[in-house]
């Protein structure tokens, strides 16, 4: 396992992590449609999307959820565990423009013998607008 492991003791409240950069293309949306089984046409059929008053095809909310999931499984590392993940779809994102996932440590505490870290997370577009805010809780390994 190549990725660096975060430990509970080393994580500071207020510190930021990421960025996880993604450059979604229409091809990725088609791949995601196939892998997830979500074939709603607004994600790959431009004419259909335009007819539905959209600016063009848009990213699946669930794909952005998956990007934020990756941000958190990277943060948790192989020894950690993603316990909770919440996302809210506030704004649309279109392929062909970069999106970035970031997080900030909000709270750390021990509960039921687990070392827990609550994080504020979000996905922002190229203009820096947080189109998909959320929160997550991970269990991290302890050095103790």
């Amino acid at each position: 396992m190549a990725a660096k492991q975060n430990y509970y003791e080393d994580v500071e409240v207020g510190s930021e992590f990421g960025p996880l950069e993604k450059d979604p293309t229409t091809q990725q949306l088609v791949k995601y449609a196939g892998a997830s089984g979500d074939f709603y046409q607004i994600h790959y059929d431009k004419d259909f999307a335009l007819k539905n008053n959209l600016p063009g095809v848009i990213l699946h909310g669930a794909l952005k959820n998956a990007f934020l999931g990756q941000l958190m499984t990277d943060f948790a590392g192989e020894q950690g565990w993603l316990r909770k993940l919440s996302v809210q779809y506030r704004g649309m994102d279109q392929p062909g423009s970069n999106v970035v996932c970031k997080g900030r440590v909000a709270r750390k505490y021990v509960e039921g013998g687990n070392h827990l870290v609550d994080c504020e997370i979000w996905l922002e577009n190229a203009k820096g607008e947080k189109t998909t805010p959320g929160s997550a809780t991970v269990i991290l390994p302890s050095r103790a």
């Binding site: 990725q28 892998a35 794909l63 990756q70 993940l85 809210q88």
Partner: protein, 149 residues
């Protein structure tokens, strides 16, 4: 103001469950999902590497649950328009999903409510979905809200 769409008859449907569906998790499906989301984590796509991990083999990325679609409980409701939005999801994860697992997915209507938005009346439906493995362990719970307007 009385609800126009979420009537008492509609509210009675809260708590309704759909037929469960069971999926066998294929290793290739996990890999394809990880590739589709662009996640190169070896836990999700490299059995040889993943064997060295504490899981002893490949597991699915958390949002893989999305690919195991549940049957939706039928909601008898007249909706304002034909447009829909996915408002977001809350997930809880308890156990890893591994290749070969048999996952049973079941949906329940947790809430239906109505509000007047900028674009007119909007109906918010919250669905709770449970994902249970062949050992009876709940591996994940999902709460999602969809908006129709």
């Amino acid at each position: 103001m009385a609800n126009k769409y979420v009537t008492e008859e509609v509210i009675k449907q809260i708590g309704k469950v759909a037929e469960p569906r069971t999926y066998e998790v294929e290793r290739g499906a996990i890999r394809r999902f990880a590739e589709a989301i662009g996640d190169a984590n070896p836990l999700f796509n490299n059995e040889q590497e993943a064997r060295k991990s504490r899981y002893g083999g490949m597991i699915a990325p958390p949002t893989f649950c999305r690919s195991m679609m549940a049957a939706f409980p039928e909601v008898k409701i007249e909706i304002p328009g034909n447009r829909g939005l996915d408002g977001g999801s809350d997930w809880e994860y308890f156990e890893p999903i591994r290749p070969g697992d048999r996952i049973t997915v079941q949906c329940k209507i947790a809430d239906i409510r109505e509000s007047a938005g900028r674009l007119g009346a909007m109906v918010f439906t919250t669905i709770e979905t449970s994902y249970t493995n062949q050992f009876g362990q709940v591996v994940a719970l999902q709460r999602s809200t969809s908006i129709r307007y």
